[in-house]
């Protein structure tokens, strides 16, 4: 009786995993296949599930002829710098909100939320004006600053949840032992909030990696453009170059997947300290 029950359960579980993988991997597979097809084959009706003529021309074009390697490097720089800035600002801010009592806390949280509410597309022109006034066009750090500004409210929001989940008794224990607030934050809270930090970091990095509109608006030169510029240039006046776009898309995802596999470990690492259980 027991054996049969386990059998059915396992099959159902396997089915769910299979369906999920199909829904997720399907489009990814299609992206890869389209990148490997020649432009003419892409338009064939009915579509071919596997390229009739496998070709690497889209990928080689992307890697050799365009400035994609340069764009790639730029994206890495933007992502890393934004992450550092965001982590710094947000750890401090979330700690203050979670741990201190001060006037205007509610107002601050509402303020944070309001900055998120206007769609980016509506801010493009005013941003262009303010960038112009501050002489920030074509400036790497200006881009990092605006990315950070957009990500910080979200990150505070996210991290706050995790900080709140850490019992205050731990703080108090440490303070009694002589730690300053800052030390509590750095040595105790942050390590315990690792899953939250990871989630927030991933969110920030993915955002910067995929960001297209701001980057294209505020940079005029190739030396500053991110990966997405490679995708944008596949949308031409004569239509979309599907092969090229999908090839660049594949190239863009690979580092993200690698990063995520690496982060996975920390995400899953729960509250390690035994003092917190129960």
């Amino acid at each position: 009786m027991r054996g049969r029950k386990i059998g059915l359960n396992t099959i159902l579980k396997a089915a769910v995993v299979a369906v999920t993988t199909l829904i997720i991997a399907g489009p990814l597979y299609w992206m890869l296949m389209t990148g490997l097809k020649a432009e003419s084959e892409i338009y064939q009706v009915p579509p071919t599930l596997f390229p009739a003529h496998l070709t690497l021309e889209n990928f080689t074009y992307a890697l050799k002829e365009t400035k994609i390697p340069l764009y790639f490097l730029n994206s890495v720089v933007y992502a890393v710098l934004t992450l550092l800035v965001v982590m710094f600002c947000v750890s401090l801010a979330a700690y203050a909100i979670s741990r201190f009592k001060f006037k205007g806390k509610r107002l601050y949280m509402i303020f944070i939320l309001i900055t998120q509410l206007m769609p980016l597309t509506t801010l493009i022109v005013p941003l262009y004006i303010s960038f112009g006034k501050m002489n920030l066009m074509n400036n790497r750090f200006a881009l990092v600053a605006i990315y950070s500004a957009v990500q910080i409210p979200v990150a505070i929001w996210l991290l706050l949840g995790y900080f709140n989940g850490i019992p205050r008794e731990i703080d108090e224990a440490a303070i009694i032992d002589g730690c300053t607030h800052f030390q509590v934050l750095v040595k105790i809270i942050l390590p315990l909030a690792k899953p939250g930090l990871m989630a927030m970091s991933l969110n920030a990095v993915i955002f910067v990696w995929q960001e297209l509109m701001l980057a294209m608006t505020f940079t005029n030169v190739d030396t500053l453009r991110p990966m997405m510029a490679g995708i944008s240039s596949a949308i031409t006046i004569t239509g979309v170059k599907w092969g090229q776009m999908n090839a660049v898309g594949v190239i863009a995802i690979i580092p993200m997947i690698i990063i995520y596999i690496f982060c996975q470990k920390y995400l899953v690492e729960g509250l390690s300290s035994g003092a917190v259980k129960g």
Binding site: T121, V154, W157, G161, G249
Partner: protein, 297 residues
């Protein structure tokens, strides 16, 4: 500075870096938008004329406005609910999985990682009538007889896009809930099971309450993101066919860059902001209540 003053100032100091960046970069644009919405500002003239609430009246009396708002609400509500249900469901499922946990976790995140523009165009391509792989497979497997007009039929276009958006956005819910599950109260769960509770009882009475803060905060965030999401709709249907997929951000963009009316677009942005704020109020209340209970507020 006395120790007491320093202690009182400390929280504010901690908030300075974040607040500074936000105000410097976003302060001017947001206030400018609010201000300029009361002016007539189009590309057609280089002057900005103060017209008070004219822009707002024009928008609110536009016959399309009601449709746009309802479309936006459907898009947002349906999207968030789907993301939430599937995200929580999958997170719980993976949590209980013994084999292949890592594999599913990695796979679940992939849709989120694919750049938005690529996702949009890729799905547009896949959902086409003749050239699209999905219709081909559906007909090949005998599930449908004719091509399904996923994006060209005004009646289903919006739902198609909601599904695509859900595909892309669910990983975030999955991530949040999974991280939240890492601190699930295992003792309570064991106790409940020993008292005879079945799994779905444990979920309902132990796990979900534990996840409640995460669900609330993720809910607000994803609601705002979904409502404001522009790239997907613009890259696929541009708000069509027949305005079936015109949401607030899409229409705002058209006002600015197609009709060249920046004043009106700014007014639209402010209206968006008001609508979202109002919609968020109940959630904010709940969140603040939660936080009060936890002693944070």
């Amino acid at each position: 500075m006395s120790k007491k003053t320093r202690r009182a100032l400390a929280p504010y100091l901690y908030l300075v870096p974040a607040t500074l960046i936000i105000i410097v970069m976003l302060g001017f644009p947001i206030i400018y938008n609010i201000g300029v919405s009361t002016f007539k500002w189009t590309l057609m003239s280089s002057e900005k004329v103060f017209t008070g609430f004219d822009n707002y009246i024009a928008i609110l009396t536009d016959e399309k406005f009601i449709k746009i708002v309802t479309t936006t609400l459907v898009w947002t509500l349906l999207g968030v609910v789907l993301q939430m249900l599937i995200g929580i469901g999958m997170a719980l499922f993976v949590d209980k999985l013994n084999v292949g946990k890592k594999f599913v976790r990695v796979s679940m995140l992939i849709p989120w990682i694919i750049p938005g523009v690529v996702t949009a165009l890729m799905w547009k391509w896949m959902l086409q009538a003749d050239l699209g792989i999905i219709n081909y497979l559906l007909m090949h497997l005998g599930i449908t007889e004719k091509n399904v007009l996923f994006m060209s039929d005004p009646n289903i276009a919006l739902f198609t896009l909601v599904m695509v958006n859900t595909w892309k956005a669910t990983p975030f819910w999955f991530l949040m809930i999974t991280a939240g599950l890492q601190s699930k109260p295992v003792d309570q769960m064991e106790a409940a099971t020993m008292d005879g509770a079945r799994y779905h009882h444990v979920v309902r009475y132990v796990i979900l309450p534990h996840l409640s803060p995460v669900i609330a905060s993720t809910g607000i965030l994803t609601a705002i993101w979904t409502l404001n999401y522009f790239d997907l709709i613009w890259a696929t249907t541009k708000g069509g066919p027949m305005d079936a997929t015109s949401t607030l951000p899409v229409y705002t963009y058209r006002l600015a860059f197609e009709f060249n009316d920046f004043g009106r677009a700014a007014a639209m942005a402010v209206i968006s902001l008001v609508i979202i704020s109002v919609a968020c109020i109940p959630y904010m209340k709940k969140m603040f209540d939660n936080l009060k209970y936890e002693g944070v507020l």
